[in-house]
């Protein structure tokens, strides 16, 4: 199309192509020249993409390849490392010791077990005794756990039923617990519960008194009942509501204890203000829900300042006096007491060393197979260009 004389005079330029297109392009060109972007591309190659490395997909790159020759040395090294690690871990684990005693119905606890089947007697105390013996002394720090079987702390509604805002000490949440805690948020009279929720409500409340039979008679094994929790749990995540010159009981005024508890939260440890209220170690340990239905939680650590426990637990006969409160027959669960020593690697856990040894032998096997394959096929021609 040719520009008409009228528009030609207006344009001041003539072009083969349509007038408006040229006008636009000229305007853009002069604009670009003013702005410093000198892109004077015209003609048939006007819309060609840039010849940059990025746009032409020619960025410098590294092209590795998984061939036998690159992978094999790595495999051998890996097999060796895993083997060494597995052996070392196995030796470490062999030195730990563990003893588990299932006390649901053991010793004189079957009486308590029968009594706890009856809900009306829930307020009555029941104590029982079990005995066990240790053949080899437990050297080092000894940790005492209580274990539960078939108790699903990882059920979704159970795990949701808590109020972390209340337990971190927010005054606003203290008297108005979150709705997730229903039906454990208020009691029958509408008084808010602190701590609310099913998790706190079902807190484990058996207690143990460990006795060791020395030649001079029975001696109570001293246990540290503090330092059981994560540092951050005890000091940051769980805090009592701020008490400005009030006692803890006054701070919790207007709330009531969970329905399954025997005492209110500010009486969990009346002798130690750093272990009372929400920051009670047992409560915090219980509130950290276990991952699986068979779990154990820390109850106490052996206090090794005095003889004869300076090196750990000596061999011999032991008995445990248990205040049996937690009923387990409703969910066909079992209760047990666990004593164990730990190394840097943790408790008695045979899985990791065995897994390392198995993995190392598998890697070694595949490395040998790959070597054979590479020797027979890879070296002489299958993959080579000439």
């Amino acid at each position: 199309t040719t520009a008409s004389p009228c528009s030609q005079s207006l344009l001041g330029k003539s072009d083969e192509q349509s007038g408006s297109l040229v006008r636009h392009r000229n305007r853009k060109k002069s604009f670009n020249r003013i702005m410093g972007k000198e892109k004077s591309k015209t003609g048939p190659l006007a819309r060609r993409p840039d010849n940059s490395a990025f746009k032409q997909q020619r960025l410098p790159a590294w092209s590795p390849m998984l061939t036998a020759s690159t992978v094999l040395p790595f495999f051998y090294l890996l097999a060796l490392t895993c083997m060494l690690l597995g052996v070392w871990l196995l030796l470490t684990v062999q030195r730990t010791q563990e003893i588990k005693v299932d006390y649901t119905e053991a010793g004189s606890c079957d009486v308590c077990f029968e009594m706890r089947k009856n809900m009306s007697k829930a307020g009555q105390k029941c104590t029982c005794m079990i005995t066990f013996s240790i053949e080899k002394a437990f050297k080092g720090d000894v940790f005492i756990y209580y274990g539960l079987r078939n108790f699903h702390q990882n059920l979704r509604r159970y795990m949701d039923s808590r109020d972390d805002g209340q337990m971190v000490g927010r005054k606003s949440s203290l008297k108005s617990p979150s709705s997730y805690c229903k039906p454990f948020d208020v009691d029958a009279n509408g008084v808010p519960i602190a701590p609310c929720g099913a998790v706190a409500n079902s807190m484990f409340n058996d207690s143990f008194l460990l006795t060791y039979y020395t030649i001079n008679g029975p001696s109570i094994v001293p246990l540290l009942r503090k330092g059981l929790t994560w540092y951050t749990d005890k000091n940051v995540k769980f805090r009592n509501p701020k008490a400005d010159n009030q006692t803890l009981a006054e701070v919790f005024e207007g709330t009531t204890q969970p329905s399954f508890w025997q005492k209110p939260v500010y009486k969990l440890d009346p002798f130690d203000p750093t272990n009372n209220g929400f920051i009670n170690d047992d409560l915090i340990v219980w509130m950290r829900e276990a991952a699986f239905p068979n779990f154990k939680k820390l109850y106490g650590i052996l206090y090794r300042a005095n003889k004869p426990y300076t090196n750990g637990l000596p061999a011999g006969n032991y008995s445990v006096i248990i205040s049996y409160n937690f009923p387990v027959q409703y969910f066909r669960g079992r209760k047990e007491l666990v004593l164990t020593t730990v190394s840097w690697f943790g408790g008695q856990n045979h899985f990791l060393p065995v897994a390392y040894l198995v993995t190392s032998s598998l890697i070694l096997l595949t490395a040998v197979v790959l070597t054979v394959v590479w020797w027979k096929f890879g070296k002489d021609g299958r993959n080579m260009a000439e």
């Binding site: 997909q57 972390d164 997730y180 650590i301 190394s343 856990n349 394959v373 021609g381």
Partner: protein, 399 residues
């Protein structure tokens, strides 16, 4: 020819026995019907106006550009998209299957294994950028070699990288990885103390451990699959992992005032402060990736595809292979070629083919069920270096 006749020819090929994917290219108005009829229509911006271009899927200025478009860009696109699809399913299988397995242990109460932040951000932040950059940047073979050797296109013909065997392989790999991750962590946690101070870990630590192994495993899987490492690949891959760690530290490092639950508080740090956690993370990642690495290396040594041969050759010549290197010198007579082994790319007889000096000679042991592009390329290249293309059954219909 009339437009209708051209369209009818394309239709005839489309409905022929092999049901091939058809491509039609033209520059004039009478090519429009044919372009619309074919699966892929290409218009050339020519002297006959813009009709063909307007109706086409792709437009090129000159006919010679078809070669690079087909052999290079088309090939790259296919490699990238097939890996994207397979990888996406794989990483989500790895993600969800442990959650599924966990239900057996939590009374089928739909308790999630991972924290909600992890659930939300897994597919958005932690694993999205690496595969995105892969699908934009990956070049499994140099461009010049692709242009030179059209037979490489046979490696991906008939949608070979997205067929059922390949997809099942990726899914089985995902399930295997998920089982390794979950049960590896399970046996570690099963009623044992994990720390040196006797304290126990809980539910969220377990989930975070599995999640950490998951993110690292799927990212390293992509690391093993990437052939073309530009700085962008490095940046997004290592950056995603670093971002995951930093996010976890940040998420668990503060008592967030707007959140009602504080379940992730300090969980990640506590997990990292435990020696067995580190050891098990390393072990589980290794165990998860091992089968795939072994499979890749063995397949590459025993039954290399043309692609892999060219990659090795390229490595050998250190990039001196260009468009003009005669490839007839590249040959590798297979040793145990008699016995055919099934592989991910079924129905591809080239693996057991005896390569001779004539590059395109293949012995078809099965009925060839796809069209090759050789006759088309003879036109394009203008010379015919490949004689005696096939011994055996000819493909029945060929453009």
């Amino acid at each position: 020819m009339a437009p209708l006749q051209k369209a009818q020819i394309v239709k005839m090929i489309k409905t022929s026995k092999e049901h091939p994917i058809t491509l039609a290219i033209g520059d004039g108005a009478n090519d429009v019907s044919m372009i619309l009829e074919a699966h892929v229509g290409i218009g050339i911006m020519g002297k006959e106006g813009r009709q063909a271009v307007r109706n086409s899927d792709y437009a090129i200025p000159k006919f010679k550009h078809l070669k690079k478009m087909l052999l290079v860009h088309g090939h790259y696109y296919y490699i990238r998209i097939s890996e994207l699809v397979q990888y996406f399913f794989y990483k989500n299988v790895c993600f969800i299957f442990p959650q599924f397995l966990y239900q057996f242990f939590c009374g089928f109460s739909q308790q999630p294994l991972y924290d909600t932040a992890y659930l939300t951000l897994y597919n958005i932040s932690f694993t999205s950028l690496p595969i995105l950059v892969y699908s934009l940047m990956e070049q499994h073979i140099n461009m010049d070699i692709l242009k030179k050797d059209p037979s490489l296109y046979k490696d991906i013909a008939k949608n070979s990288l997205l067929r059922w065997p390949t997809f099942i392989y990726w899914t089985v790999l995902g399930v295997y990885d998920a089982i390794v991750m979950f049960f590896g962590a399970y046996f570690l946690f099963d009623n044992t103390t994990f720390t040196s101070n006797g304290q126990m870990f809980g539910n969220w630590t377990f989930g975070t451990l599995v999640f950490t192994v998951l993110v690292f495993t799927v990212t390293f899987k992509l690391v093993l699959d990437t052939h073309y490492w530009t700085w962008i690949n490095h940046f997004v891959i290592w950056g995603s992992l670093v971002f995951f760690v930093l996010f976890s530290l940040l998420w668990g490092g503060i008592i967030w005032p707007f959140l009602n639950y504080q379940r992730m508080y300090y969980v990640f740090m506590q997990m990292l402060s435990s020696g067995p956690a580190w050891l098990s993370i390393i072990l589980l990642i290794t165990a998860g990736l091992l089968p795939d690495v072994v499979k890749k290396v063995i397949w590459r040594a025993m039954w290399p595809t043309i692609t892999e041969r060219i990659q090795d050759a390229d490595k050998l010549y250190k990039g001196q292979l260009s468009e003009f290197t005669p490839l007839a010198s590249l040959q590798a007579p297979p040793k145990a070629g008699g016995r055919r082994r099934g592989s991910e790319n079924q129905r591809n007889p080239r693996r057991s083919a005896a390569f001779s000096k004539k590059l395109m000679f293949t012995r078809w042991q099965r009925r060839p069920d796809y069209c090759t592009f050789t006759p088309l390329l003879r036109l394009v290249d203008g010379h015919s270096p490949h004689h005696n293309a096939y011994g055996g059954a000819e493909p029945e219909t060929c453009v």
